[in-house]
């Protein structure tokens, strides 16, 4: 893959600022928040929940955006396509992703709707429960996807969460088609078991006909194939994608490719503080190593190392210098 590309990975995803606060299980049940999953909420509900939330910390987020931020931190060449508003949180998002070295120039949305916010309630067991107000992010459309940039990227990375938005879905389709036409790899994350549930037929079509590199966790891949055993899901995904990287929390990950399957152990973490962004970080490590032409074992190991960094502190993006991690595999 030592071609004359401009980017290793260009991602298309939601452009979100996270608001992280601590909460207990009682709070989740009192306000009917489904633990561990991502729910889409409207502006009024976001306002209400924010009023009830404890003191917060703001940090740029968004699943695919976290992934390209990780790739850039590892020393990779990354770009991002996503929609913020022309407001203070939009400035925060743009600053943070550019500051880590990701190319980001999707024009901001002018007028009314504000930048997307994800209220993240972190419980003492380090689980995160996410309530997302999509705002300007849902206005991403095909006109924001530069086919030239996609063609100049080794991999295009698409976020399943975006499938909830009709316009954004068109943008992703356009990116996938442009990548296929240019002979680039299409990578996709299933994002969330409930997201899979909402779009199963379309996701199956995508996975079976367009995706080269699939990311999913255990419950997402089992939801996709409506099976009760992880092994059944592995059997089903085998052969559809060039690579399926399936994460299993503390059990590590299984990387399925043709008849092969690599089992990668999870990295030990002294104290798991906040699992927000674990899957995004795994995809970052994996795709960075992949774009460098490394074997699947190295891809999985770098994914595990980066995920371990991110879950050992509060917040979805890495806090330490990642180049040392990249050199370790």
């Amino acid at each position: 893959m030592n071609d004359n590309t401009q980017f290793d990975v260009t991602a298309v995803g939601n452009a979100i600022v996270d608001v992280l606060a601590q909460a207990d299980d009682r709070f989740l049940s009192d306000h009917e928040l489904e633990k561990g999953v991502m729910s889409i909420i409207d502006g009024a509900r976001a306002e209400k929940l924010y009023g009830l939330m404890g003191p917060g910390v703001e940090a740029s987020g968004g699943s695919a955006a976290n992934t390209v931020a990780g790739i850039a931190g590892l020393g990779g060449r990354a770009a991002f396509i996503g929609k913020v508003a022309d407001d203070q949180l939009g400035q925060v998002f743009r600053h943070d992703i550019r500051a880590v070295g990701v190319a980001f120039d999707t024009p901001p949305l002018k007028g009314g709707i504000s930048t997307a916010r994800c209220l993240i309630f972190v419980t003492p067991d380090a689980q995160r429960t996410m309530q997302t107000f999509l705002g300007a992010s849902s206005e991403l459309g095909p006109e924001d996807v530069d086919e030239g940039r996609i063609a100049a990227s080794k991999v295009v990375y698409l976020e399943g969460y975006l499938w909830d938005q009709p316009l954004a879905k068109e943008a992703m389709r356009k990116a996938a088609v442009a990548a296929g036409r240019a002979g680039r790899k299409v990578s996709f994350t299933l994002s969330d078991p409930f997201c899979v549930d909402r779009h199963r037929e379309e996701f199956l079509d995508l996975v079976e006909n367009h995706v080269d590199i699939l990311f999913a966790n255990e419950s997402e891949i089992m939801s996709l194939y409506k099976v009760n055993e992880f092994e059944q899901a592995v059997d089903r995904v085998r052969g559809h994608c060039e690579v399926a990287a399936l994460t299993r929390s503390e059990l590590g990950s299984v990387i399925v490719s043709g008849r092969e399957a690599e089992v990668i152990g999870a990295e030990a973490v002294p104290v798991v503080v906040d699992t927000t962004g674990a899957g995004d970080a795994y995809a970052a490590g994996f795709l960075h190593a992949y774009a460098q032409g490394r074997d699947l074992r190295a891809c999985g190991r770098l994914g595990s190392l980066l995920a371990a960094e991110v879950i050992s502190h509060y917040g979805a993006r890495a806090e330490t210098d990642l180049r040392a991690l990249a050199a370790a595999v």
Copy 2:
């Protein structure tokens, strides 16, 4: 002090959102940032520095605001007076301080100027270098000080940093006079050695004639009296205030009261991550214990415990449940 007050402590201070990012010493010298101190910058400089800054995390800050947030976290009754703009960062500030239980109802500034931001560069030695754009915060004026609320508070706490703003200075004077008239305690922090340098004569008058409880670190109190030895500063401050709580980083603190001086050891911290907010946290612990009628030794110990919590992680406000700390002294 078991009177019929409504608040233990009402603070008057800057209403600021912090933007924290990591930086190295080379960055500080390249951009002529004076390490360890707080500098006031204008909007253009803030824009430029933010563009150069690494990826950040936003969290509510402001020195006196951090202190009352700490007091509320400890279970105390606290209020805050300070000015945000009617923008997203203003909403963040208001949410966070209210969410921790502090009464805050200063009306936001309408129009043009944005909420204050403090760009905080944290170096690997855990030192913080602060560049503050005051924005709406500098528009705080005497009309924002409710004398009834001051009279209903055991202690009014004033931030030296505010002295740079003529209108805010009037607001603080009004608060100090209202407290004195109602027989309440006036507490003041010198904030920063350079701030002391800019306002030495006025600060001396304040300390010698109006302040009951003074907070200062070693370099601030030495700057106030233009002396080269800490002990000389202790001799000078003795007798002017009812209490002077003088902090000395890893050497702990010295609490001077009349002919007495209590020496309090610093709390051990396994890894000092970020010293942002250490002094604010000390004042919070101290004032909370003071308002509960505890002796000066208990006040200093709770100050040290809270400061230790805050410097053991990134950001100026506590992350753990402080009520356990309050119960420990």
